[in-house]
Subunit: 343 residues, 2 copies
Amino acid sequence: MVFPEYLHFSTSPDRTLIEVTEKLSPDLVAILVDEHTKERCFSNLNIPPVQLIEISSGEKNKTFTTCEKIWEQMTELGMSRKSLLINLGGGVIGDMGGFVASTFKRGIQFINIPTTLLSMVDASIGGKLGIDFQGLKNHIGLFSDPAAVIISPQFLQTLPREELKSGFAEVLKHALIADLDYWETVKQIDLPNANWDEIIKKSIVIKAAVVSNDPYENGKRKILNFGHSFGHAIETHFLETEQPLSHGEAVAVGMVLEAHISFEKKLLPEHKLKEIEEVIRQYFDLPDLPNLEVLLPLIRQDKKNKNNALNFSLLNGIGDCKYDVEVDLHSLTSALHYYKKIR
Amino acid sequence: MVFPEYLHFSTSPDRTLIEVTEKLSPDLVAILVDEHTKERCFSNLNIPPVQLIEISSGEKNKTFTTCEKIWEQMTELGMSRKSLLINLGGGVIGDMGGFVASTFKRGIQFINIPTTLLSMVDASIGGKLGIDFQGLKNHIGLFSDPAAVIISPQFLQTLPREELKSGFAEVLKHALIADLDYWETVKQIDLPNANWDEIIKKSIVIKAAVVSNDPYENGKRKILNFGHSFGHAIETHFLETEQPLSHGEAVAVGMVLEAHISFEKKLLPEHKLKEIEEVIRQYFDLPDLPNLEVLLPLIRQDKKNKNNALNFSLLNGIGDCKYDVEVDLHSLTSALHYYKKIR
């Protein structure tokens, strides 16, 4: 397995950024940051002066209002179709910055420098860009590859444990859907002292292999969505509350629920369901969930659905995953019932 | 020259639409109209029931606010990634409907049925989609091809003469930049009685040939922008006034101005400049223009510019066009000066 060409692992992100930028020879460079990455990451980058565009951090700002502010600044800076936008941050910055760049004057080049574990293992490849709309996750967006992605695990050193956990849910997912051996490794990792370099590479290899065969998610790529039918709905629901869940926390809960549906569909034996549940519980709290009436309208908006039916990606044992499995309301109810019992 | 595969000339747009839709087998179909195309075109289409999404006509509505309304209705209708949006209308409906479809859930399929001469000869091919932003034309957008474009000149029969004129400016442009013989034909056409079928096909052949060699406008495709550096700026300026110009009127004026720059750069002999001016005057009024100080900031936002320089596409004689010609302020001033003298 070869990594996508645009992917650069680097222990010196500033040097790599300078090299990559020189090759693109843009007429103007701007860098998109939030208050955290400005302080924590940008200030440590030793690069020539660039224009800075700052937005407020957080999923709740992944909206058109923020896009409009960015486009406004890009316009004021006089950015042309030959200019370059560098997105320095986590998933919100990468997804939204990529979307903004890909639609500014019908598309300019952009470089993503993911600064969280989640964005390194997940958003770094696959070209999915977008923003939330009316509370629906990534409801508006497109597919477009960055000119480069620069991955430097050193950014993780200053990352809060909660942020590490959020990314780790996707690592667990990669193992569950594609690699039993990897699962045996990741199920007993000491988060703060993990060998992230190796884990990130392994996760990217898994994701890249899936994506390269189905870039626009017409088929197999849907397995990367295991845990996300419930996960996105739960994340969306909690976004509006006082205590929002991180993407990883929501996906972790989603994986427990969807593992139960896999079990109920006789795709996953009971002892494997228990094992998944225990591993997830080891890293994540299991919050109280609202009823199905609240979650269902959100699940209905999932991009995998078609013909008014709910389509899930379900585990076919550990290390394998089936997609486009039609799921009925009874399965959802009984998964939620099980979840309430075990938490 | 072969037409793009997705292009269907049809004397029976309803039958063609039904055939094309059946092949795409969407799970839900919605059709985007404005008050004019609903009345004038949709009501004459004999097709199975579809969901109707109606917006207000006009360039001033080609904004995010309208996009949000469309996305909202698409979401409420329960449209999935397997659904289809049909855009029935002129350039605004086609450009904005295509943009909305291409970004809804990261992109669903869409069919364009252009109903104006302008959208038949211009927007129908090339995949340029977008909306205006802060008064800047097509400032936000992307490239994406429709699943099908259905062209039926019969829609022109009920089109106001002003609308015919607006499209005819692009026809003149196609001749000027690429085909001297075609210029000899189109320079003496009786608009209401023209053989539109033939003209549309010829214009599309010219545009398709240019676009197929440079789909993302890195080079040669820029020649299609002759008349548009000034034209877009003028259109944008008048959009805010009581008497907005149509796209074609603005481009007609832009072609006079840019023909003068071509002459000044010794690319076009004086008698050819005069000829162009006379032909355009035959079809279009030449309105009073604001000074360069007003137009320059708008011209600076043109997508062909780079490195802070103004790049124009200029006629190299009639029937040929050069792109990426750097133009200085003196040339712009003297073109405006000339224009004020001759109008």
